[in-house]
């Protein structure tokens, strides 16, 4: 069994992720903090320092992905989606992909409900964060941890 395209891509993404981590000069033993920093940096850029509160957002993504090539996700946000009170944007951030912000959805009250879906690539086992930007300027989030397995790699056949 072989999956040449998916396997090759994922390996390179993993390699790129590892290179990015090792290039960051930080005290030894702080790898977890370094890896998480990509999300923090992206968040800072999105929010401009406004605190992000855990809640109102529901990120649905498999906790175990057989292949990081295409991982489906759905994000829904608790919002009336009216002109005065709605979700303006939803950002999907990854901890270890080469690009931290995977996709940004721009929403409007004409949607009636704040619910969107897509499929993303995942370079490695990692955290994924969904951040909702509200019309009142507040930010809410939900996060998930996804284990990415590559069963094709260890298949001796």
């Amino acid at each position: 069994m072989s999956r040449p395209e998916g396997e090759g891509l994922t390996r390179r993404q993993v390699a790129a992720g590892v290179a990015a981590i090792t290039l960051v000069p930080l005290a030894p033993g702080s790898r977890a903090a370094v890896a998480g920093d990509q999300i923090s940096t992206a968040l800072e850029k999105i929010t401009g320092g406004v605190p992000v509160t855990d809640g109102r957002v529901k990120l649905e993504i498999s906790s175990l992905a057989e292949n990081g090539f295409s991982v489906p996700l759905t994000v829904s946000v608790d919002s009336p989606m009216t002109a005065d009170d709605h979700v303006k944007a939803i950002h999907i951030l990854s901890e270890k992909n080469p690009v931290a912000e995977v996709v940004k959805f721009n929403l409007s009250p004409r949607m009636g409900r704040a619910k969107v879906s897509t499929s993303i690539r995942m370079a490695d086992t990692q955290r994924v964060l969904a951040v909702a930007e509200m019309s009142d300027g507040s930010f809410w989030s939900d996060e998930a941890h996804v284990i990415v397995t590559l069963s094709a790699c260890i298949d001796g056949g």
Partner: protein, 108 residues
Amino acid sequence: MSMTSARIVVPKTAKRGEVVEIKTLIKHPMETGYRRDHRGQPIPRHIIQRFVATYNGEEVFSADLTQGVAANPYLAFSLLVEESGEITFTWTDDLGSTHSEKAEITVT
């Protein structure tokens, strides 16, 4: 360009005030720019960067995509149906090519 076919799922009819789900899928490699070909040459990035949906001419939903989105990008979203009309979908890639689709929805 490689943006040749897209599939959209839009209900043909809906009640006024109903929220419907719209699903879209477009054939596109979403080449990341991180891969190399069999000669070891880098394969240039080639991705859809932007998706826009309009409803009777007004933008209702859009997305900014990166190479982190899976090949053949799938996007689904909700729409509050207020009146009969036309929904358009436009995908634009980083080479500037675009692909558009249209659908009609009738309020019953």
